[in-house]
């Protein structure tokens, strides 16, 4: 059934649109964007008066934990969390068990997505077999099966030689390498940022230089190969500077930042806060300011949650033994609205771009805009909605968040995938309806090959 979204302020940064427009989705695709579209008989009408309609939000960095770690999260719970957070698509990392390092695992992930997902799922394949950093995966085969990018996330691509090969090979396939940039000889086994806090707490710490060194290696190799490089979860001011400089030289590098890194600093770990351990770690206030500056000037094109759910019992241990990572799908949009838009750092359009046009361009996805003909994925925002973060109410199985109890202004109000409302809390209570039409299947929206 066609869906008509009425009364919203429509912001589509990719098309330079910001104004009072209605939006009609028909046959799973954007059919019309216009002032005051009259409803026809048979149209479903979504009253979005007072709200903002944007292209469907894409979280390009999540851990769905399936296959292998379904006790932490699975495709269903993870994508329900995504929908609840306002996302219409996620890209899921390869560090599952077994690792997504072959087309059969990729196909399995997509099969589960077709069965159970509440939003689109774009698999990311591993760079190296088993993420062991030894030999490349069958990237062409995995690309054909649906992988949109390659990454050994959780750890950096192990050697410069392997990174060079990966960039060359993935470049040939038209997809980027996403790197978790840390020099492991500096950061391996270290649990937080090095500075006054780590000195006071006596925790093993790594310096921001650890990230800068690996980012520099990667940038030089992107320049050497001419291939596209994406730096995951940038945390250091040094890395932002290197990436800015590389972009000025027209080297093909992009990067993302997580909401926890632009919101928090290593101060958060005072008292051995078990909800504040991640890799790379929360860094200094100067680094946090540099991340916001990078978002402002466009050096950082994407915001991604690095949603990393963990099992409760694994969190009942001393700080050193804790797993790295926090959940983020259900707080990312609110943190961006509260901490970036309401604080005056970004305009609403800039912030929307980091969740839409930014990641769509990086991963070569057809979404990211509301141009007529693109998949009908829409995120509806209520920028003024105030609420308190209650981890117990998360759709995700993970409750590991440093934002427990935080009061935030701004929240996703609805998520629409291929014209189907998969999440709606416009009238208050959150309703999630996972099924979306087969003709708007999970792989739609993935680019068919070369971008640009």
């Amino acid at each position: 059934m066609p869906l008509l979204i009425k009364g919203s302020r429509l912001i589509d940064p990719a098309e330079g649109v910001d104004g009072a427009f209605d939006l009609l989705i028909e046959g799973g695709r954007v059919a019309r964007v216009d002032r005051d579209i009259p409803p026809r008989g048979g149209d479903d009408v979504l009253d979005a008066g007072g709200l903002v309609a944007a292209p469907g939000f894409i979280d390009m960095h999540v851990h769905l934990r399936e296959p292998g770690e379904e006790y932490k999260e699975d495709t269903e719970s993870g994508t329900r969390a995504a929908a609840a957070g306002g996302f219409t698509a996620v890209a899921c990392m390869a560090n599952t068990d077994p690792v997504n390092d072959s087309s059969s695992i990729t196909e399995r992930i997509l099969k589960r997505a077709r069965e159970a997902a509440a939003c689109r799922v774009h698999p990311i394949g591993a760079v190296s077999a088993g993420r062991r950093g030894e030999r490349l995966t069958e990237m062409a085969d995995q690309r054909a099966a649906g992988c949109v990018a390659f990454s050994d996330d959780g750890a950096p691509v192990r050697t410069a030689q392997l990174m060079r090969s990966a960039l060359e090979y993935a470049g040939m396939l038209g997809v980027p390498i996403l790197d978790h940039a840390e020099d492991m000889s500096l950061s391996g086994g270290r649990v937080m940022n090095e500075g006054a806090i780590s000195t006071a707490l006596g925790l093993d710490a790594n310096p921001a230089a650890s990230e800068d060194i690996c980012v520099y290696r990667d940038i030089r190799l992107a320049a050497l190969t001419g291939s596209r490089l994406h730096i995951l979860h940038t945390t250091s001011g040094g890395a932002v500077g290197l990436i800015r400089e590389a972009k000025n030289k027209e080297i093909g590098v992009t990067c993302e930042v997580t909401p926890h890194h632009f919101t928090l600093t290593d101060e958060e770990i005072q008292g051995f806060n078990s909800a504040a351990k991640m890799a790379p770690p929360l860094r200094s206030e100067a680094d946090r300011q540099a991340l916001i500056a990078g978002l402002k000037d466009g050096t950082i094109e994407a915001i991604a949650s690095d949603h990393a759910p963990h099992y409760e019992a694994e969190l009942q241990v001393e700080f050193d033994a804790l797993p790295f990572g926090v959940v983020g799908l259900e707080t990312a949009v609110s943190l961006a609205l509260d901490r970036l838009v309401h604080s005056g750092s970004l305009t609403l359009a800039q912030m929307i771009s980091k969740f839409t046009a930014g990641p769509a361009k990086i991963l070569g996805l057809a979404g990211g805009s509301l141009r007529v003909g693109v998949p009908g994925d829409v995120t509806i925002l209520d920028p003024e909605r105030e609420y308190e973060v209650v981890p117990g109410a998360f759709e995700s199985r993970g409750r590991n968040t440093p934002f427990d109890g935080m009061k935030l202004r701004g929240r996703a109000a609805a998520a629409i995938v291929g014209g189907k409302v998969v999440m709606n809390r416009i009238s208050g209570e959150t309703v999630i309806d996972a099924g979306f039409p087969a003709d708007a299947g999970v792989r739609e929206g993935a680019g068919a090959g070369e971008m640009n």
């Binding site: 500075g195 006054a196 006071a200 006596g202 093993d204 700080f319």
Partner: protein, 345 residues
């Protein structure tokens, strides 16, 4: 600065204490010291109480000190070492500790290789938790006995120059002492090779030098830290020989020292590495006094934490303990817990 009553469930760090609380803990150490000098070195203060030493790292001195302290207070003291505990069978720290607590333990004394492990347990357990050394974080009872030893000889902390020489970055003893001394008005200098100084070392509130001669000349008190040979040095220092040559405290280096310099070491000493035998056994050394006062200091801590559960008003506990000394005497008594009270019955 005046002593302030200590009413905490746990002793986790020096950083979390007020200067007054630290002074109070030194006072209570004073009152228990006398017990250790008696013919019959035992008081019934913690009769019927259970203290568990839960050690996830090897330790002789600290564990023995807590054990003797507990026994001299008549508590039942049980030692559990991690090598034989459930930790290696995949049980979480939380479960291990909660099992121990379920056996009606009053105080758990924890040593753990991970910074913050005692703080984590303190949040999870209702019983008292004493940090007996956690990772590179803190070793509060060591700092308290060090402070007590210093005060015995130097009387006042205000303006006193105390230097700490060694692997500051990896030393929980150094962290606790730096913070404690600063809270009491002493000046602290930390000294070691750059590879053994923590990031932003000045943020700890200490002067920083890499020249051991500078530290020696400046000091009224000098603490040398154990160089952890078992850590293999790695990137932190080239060899024990190089360390001894450049930072070892020996008689020759002490020629520039003040005549009443106090020499301390938390032990165990690597003789000939961080300190030469003639200095360790020499006239300025108070190393064995540190050990002696350690027992009294820990008696005070155990007394407060095991007794506090009554004093702070767990009604059932107070009833159950009606037969034991100090129990139910209330917070006012706990504030002035001298041995007179502890042995009143």
């Amino acid at each position: 600065m005046k002593p302030e009553p200590f009413h905490r469930k746990d002793l986790l760090s020096i950083r979390g204490l007020s200067p007054g609380e630290i002074l109070f803990l030194l006072e209570i150490t004073d009152s228990f010291r006398e017990v250790n000098e008696r013919e019959i070195k035992k008081v019934p203060s913690l009769r019927g109480k259970t203290v568990v030493n839960l050690f996830f790292e090897p330790s002789t001195r600290t564990r023995t000190s807590f054990e003797i302290a507990g026994k001299r207070l008549s508590a039942d003291v049980i030692n559990i070492s991690a090598a034989v505990s459930a930790a290696q069978k995949g049980e979480t720290l939380r479960d291990t500790a909660r099992n121990i607590e379920a056996m009606a333990t009053d105080v758990v004394v924890v040593r753990h290789p991970a910074s913050g492990a005692p703080a984590y347990l303190a949040r999870e357990l209702r019983c008292g938790v004493v940090n007996a050394g956690d990772g590179c974080h803190e070793h509060p009872t060591q700092a308290l006995l060090d402070l007590y030893t210093i005060r015995e000889h130097k009387k006042e902390f205000g303006g006193l120059h105390v230097s700490i020489v060694g692997d500051i970055a990896r030393s929980r003893v150094a962290r606790s002492n730096i913070v404690a001394l600063a809270k009491l008005g002493a000046e602290v200098m930390i000294c070691g090779p750059r590879t053994m100084l923590p990031a932003e070392a000045e943020s700890l509130g200490a002067r920083v030098t890499t020249r051991v001669e500078e530290a020696i000349e400046w000091s009224d008190v000098l603490m040398a830290l154990r160089i952890q040979l078992e850590r293999g040095g790695g990137a932190a220092f080239p060899s024990a020989r190089e360390y001894a040559n450049t930072y070892g405290i020996n008689r020759k280096r002490l020629q520039g020292a003040k005549p009443d310099l106090l020499i301390m070491h938390p032990g165990p000493i690597n003789r000939g590495v961080e300190m030469s035998p003639d200095v360790a056994d020499g006239p300025f050394s108070v190393i064995l006094e540190q050990v002696e006062y350690g027992v009294a200091c820990r008696m005070g801590i155990l007394y407060l934490l095991a007794g506090q559960r009554n004093a702070t008003g767990a009604a059932d506990a107070a009833e159950d303990d009606s037969g034991t000394e100090a129990a139910g005497e209330g917070a006012d008594e706990a504030r002035k817990p001298g041995v007179e009270n502890a042995v009143a019955h």
